[in-house]
């Protein structure tokens, strides 16, 4: 049995066992996350760590007599032991839930739909990972740089089901070769080759395509004083800001609790540039539309349109608590599959349009620095270069920025690129993430750097 089929079977058996054992007055929502992953971690073009992880996690939400209790456990794949574990878990939840206070905003699962999406892929042969993934990186070594990063591959599965009848399954086989090339001077380029169909020739082509960027980074470093600079934010750099719509972001709950940095936007006291629009867009196909209760989000949900607030991210719990209309968000109310609208700027004219200023390829370690003004601080990273008269002059010594997003994407947003890049989600805390974002580059006329 393939790993995906095995995972689906585990999910199905667990749902059958759990839903079949529910008593009157009880309800249950079951979320499944599984993977069978191989991780090749490399440094200096050589193997640092190589291993595999197989996990199948159930996250449960149990409802009884007005009480709500979350829980979770792993599934081993052995039908008998998993059935016993599910039965024991349910018994434990009944006992624990009885001791809890009533949940004032309990929303019993109501979803009834079902869906099934499965995507096959072609991964490098596990026995030839060194030849397939690392050896092509020797081109980086020949260019005088260190080849470092992580290649992850294998199936990733998600499921959700509810005692109300919903049952959804999403399985895909994906890889992500997330890598950097470091020169002895500490300057580096970063890239990621991710997808479902591994193509060795494409991998080699992508590696070779970065070599010219390395050449530019070998020049003497330019140290710039703090100040305002004209900046092109490449799509990877723009993507670094996207989580700020999730983290203390456009969540209905965050707004109501005084924990949204976008309160002024939502209240209409401030606007972004008409050039800026953001939507949640599942047509990207990178992650499922269902949430942990089996509710299906609309395929597209505008969040910011023409610089103005359009919609908040609303879960069923927030609907009950605040009276807002749910858009089937997960309870954490973050943006999924974000898509920033493209503009009409010709990306081929980036250097010419910067004139004199900075080309920022990547940003690093961003955080809110002043909540009420939506100010964010962070660092430039990787292949950031100083441009004069439309020509690359030198790599820069990394700079810290500290800038309000109302300014950055407000009156300072000069143009939005017409070409968008899909930035794959490569996070893997606990389990490999799915998804990614679609983002353009942006020309900023005056970004504030402080250190």
């Amino acid at each position: 049995m393939s790993a995906k089929k095995d995972m689906e079977a585990r999910f199905g058996r667990a749902c059958d066992a759990l839903f079949g054992a529910l008593k009157g007055g009880e309800a249950l929502a079951v979320e499944f996350e599984g993977e069978d992953s191989t991780f090749l971690r490399f440094n200096r073009g050589k193997v640092r760590q190589l291993g595999s992880v197989e996990r199948a996690d159930l996250t449960l939400r149990f409802y009884a007599n007005g009480r709500t209790l979350g829980s979770g456990t792993g599934l081993t794949g052995d039908a008998d032991s998993d059935a016993k574990a599910c039965a024991a878990l349910l018994a434990r939840l009944r006992g624990l839930a009885a001791g809890l206070p009533e949940d004032p905003f309990q929303v019993l699962p109501a979803a009834t739909g079902s869906s099934r999406e499965e995507f096959s892929g072609r991964m490098p042969d596990g026995a030839r990972l060194v030849e397939e993934v690392l050896e092509p990186g020797d081109a980086i070594g020949r260019a005088g740089a260190d080849f470092v990063g992580l290649h992850a591959q294998g199936p990733v599965c998600r499921g959700a089901a509810a005692s109300s009848g919903a049952r959804h399954w999403f399985a895909t086989e994906i890889f992500a070769a997330d890598w950097s090339a470091y020169l002895p001077n500490g300057k580096a380029v970063k890239s990621c080759y991710a997808g479902r169909e591994w193509d060795g020739a494409e991998w080699r082509r992508r590696l070779a395509a970065e070599l010219p960027r390395l050449e530019a980074l070998n020049r003497p470093e330019r140290i710039l004083p703090p100040g305002e600079y004209r900046v092109w934010l490449a799509p990877d750099a723009v993507d670094a800001f996207v989580p700020f719509f999730s983290r203390m972001g456009l969540s209905e709950r965050a707004y109501r609790e005084g924990s949204s940095a976008w309160t002024a936007l939502r209240d209409g006291r401030k606007k972004l540039s008409p050039k800026f629009s953001l939507a949640q867009d599942f047509s990207l196909g990178a992650e499922p539309r269902f949430n942990e209760s089996g509710e299906l989000a609309p395929e597209r949900l505008p969040l910011v349109e023409g610089g103005a607030f359009a919609n908040a991210i609303v879960s069923s719990r927030s609907e009950k608590q605040y009276g807002a209309v749910s858009n089937a968000a997960p309870e954490w109310e973050g943006v999924r599959s974000p898509s920033v609208a493209s503009g009409d700027f010709d990306d081929a004219k980036v250097l010419e349009s910067i004139g004199t200023g900075l080309y920022v390829s990547n940003l690093h370690y961003l955080n809110w620095s002043d909540f009420d003004s939506a100010r964010v601080t962070g660092m430039t990273r990787f292949a950031c270069v100083w441009v004069e008269d439309g020509k690359i002059v030198a790599p820069i010594k990394d700079l810290r920025f500290d800038e309000s997003l109302y300014r950055l994407w407000g009156d300072k947003l000069e143009a939005v690129g017409s070409r968008r890049a899909f930035v794959a989600e490569t996070g893997s805390y606990v389990i490999r993430n799915l998804g990614g974002s679609l983002v353009p580059g942006m020309l900023i006329d005056g970004m504030t750097f402080t250190l």
């Binding site: 440094n43 809890l100 810290r400």
Partner: protein, 479 residues
């Protein structure tokens, strides 16, 4: 020690394995939270699994499964061997069995006898506390969260390791958000999840916790009418709950040997510290003494040995301002030839251990709090971290705190809101001019230090006295 596990590792070790290890981890976690005087959430979950590690021709391969079944573990061992074989064609370093010591130990968190309160009692307290926190109508959110974890790790190997460690973690926090007009201010107990400690029922003093939660709410309201932190250059005096973050980001991460060796460059970053700096670099002023100390009672990353079985003991990393040792595990020590510590740790059964901070502490100095404040002509007191950012070499940083007070002519003065400061690690620590004595020393921790590819979160501890730094760039918010 489970005799089953000890017997099992010998049975599953595949032919061709020069060494085989089995690490079983069982995490049992539960949490409850109340918000605004009402129940908000409760969860209770268990995660258990095993990682099999095999050494073959100098390369470790690993395979992790959520199972204790001997058949599943035998298959995992074969997979680990195959991956080790694949990797041995091009290893970054050829390891041997010396990096997996045959340590035998049985260790458990020291804690007071008595059971922890059940979910019902914790909920009742949290509901009561969050109701009391809403004394002012300016409070728009009050919450109180308990997070309790029991982590049991068994590590056995064909080399003779037999290690059992049981950690008991108690975490709690209160958050108050106050709003007036367009201004929002927030206070917690020592920053987000700073109260994450090892121990038991002795850590839960409900009357004191409620008083602190109410105090946090009062300070959130107080901050609404406080002026912004001034923007200029002056001395800063950092409370231990901000020192925790300062130590973590600008001492801990840059001293991780795997970062210095380049493993983390594609993700978390590298370090401004070079291998050749170890033993010579003046990291800070003479007052700076930093220790790796896995033996502090209550500190959340205390343990007897790390996840590869290396026995842990206290080591000074920075002595009178000079860097003498880095945070490098046996593997990193073998690769670099530099001294290190027992810090190869994993998030759980599903991740391979890497170089980590554990308990990383600034040793107490000789100054009382009054002496420190009295020595500052113009400065700002800052406490409780709320914003953090630092570059990938761990040099240029900017940190923000929840609560500040001006210091003028040796006296604590008016409260200021949005206190922030920025600097450069390599010069900042050299401006350390006062280190508090043991009376100012506090122990904190955090469960969410992120690092590694694949990514890992881990619990770390930081203890520090109050410290003062000369001529720092400080600034406030824009509202």
């Amino acid at each position: 020690m489970s005799t089953t596990l000890k017997k099992l590792v010998g049975e599953i070790a595949p032919p061709g394995a020069e060494w085989c290890g089995l690490r079983r981890v069982r995490l049992s976690a539960r949490a409850v939270q109340a918000k605004d005087g009402r129940f908000d959430l409760a969860y209770d979950y268990v995660d258990e699994g095993c990682m099999v590690e095999v050494l073959h021709r100098g390369q470790f391969g690993y395979a992790a499964v959520a199972s204790l079944d001997s058949g599943a573990l035998a298959r995992a061992a074969l997979k680990a061997l195959e991956l080790a074989r694949v990797g041995s064609a091009r290893p970054v370093h050829a390891f041997d069995r010396s990096v997996r010591p045959a340590t035998v130990a049985n260790w458990e968190t020291k804690r007071a006898p008595g059971r922890l309160p059940g979910a019902d009692e914790l909920c009742a307290f949290a509901i009561d506390a969050t109701r009391a926190m809403r004394a002012s109508e300016k409070i728009v959110r009050s919450d109180f969260l308990f997070e309790l974890r029991d982590e049991e790790t068994e590590f056995v190997s064909t080399g003779g390791a037999e290690l059992v460690q049981r950690k008991h973690i108690v975490g709690y926090n209160a958050t108050a958000v106050a709003r007036e007009g367009t201004l929002t201010q927030r206070r917690t107990l020592n920053g987000p999840r700073g109260r994450t400690l090892q121990g038991g029922v002795e850590l839960l003093d409900f009357p004191a916790m409620k008083a602190e939660a109410v105090g946090a709410a009062e300070q959130a309201v107080e901050l609404l009418s406080a002026p912004e932190c001034p923007s200029d250059t002056r001395d800063v005096v950092l409370a231990p709950d901000q020192m925790m973050l300062q130590i973590h980001e600008s001492v801990g991460h840059p001293l991780e040997l795997d970062r210095i060796l380049g493993d983390e460059r594609n993700f978390a970053g590298s370090s401004f510290v070079k291998l050749e700096d170890i033993g010579t670099l003046r990291y800070g002023s003479d007052l700076m003494n930093v220790s790796f100390d896995p033996g502090v009672d209550g500190e959340p990353a205390s343990y007897a040995a790390d996840d590869i079985g290396n026995p842990a003991r206290k080591e000074l990393l920075i002595e009178k301002g000079i860097l003498v040792r880095a945070l490098g595990s046996l593997e990193s020590q073998a690769r670099s030839g530099k001294p290190g510590v027992a810090n190869q740790r994993a998030q759980g059964w599903f991740r391979a251990p890497i170089d980590r901070m554990a308990n990383l502490n600034l040793e107490p100095g000789a100054s009382s709090l009054d002496e420190i404040i009295g020595s500052v002509e113009k400065g700002v007191w800052m406490e409780a971290n709320r914003s953090w950012s630092i570059d990938d070499y761990r040099n240029k940083f900017q940190f923000g705190c929840e609560y500040g007070r001006l210091i003028e002519n040796g006296k604590l003065g008016a409260t200021v809101r949005n206190p922030n400061y920025r600097g450069v690690s390599s010069s900042f620590w050299r401006s350390l001019f006062k280190v508090g004595d043991a009376s100012t020393f506090r122990v904190y921790g955090t469960p969410n230090c992120g690092k590694g590819e694949p990514n890992q979160l881990i619990t770390v501890g930081h203890a520090s006295p109050v410290c003062a730094f000369k001529d720092v760039e400080v600034f406030g918010g824009e509202a």
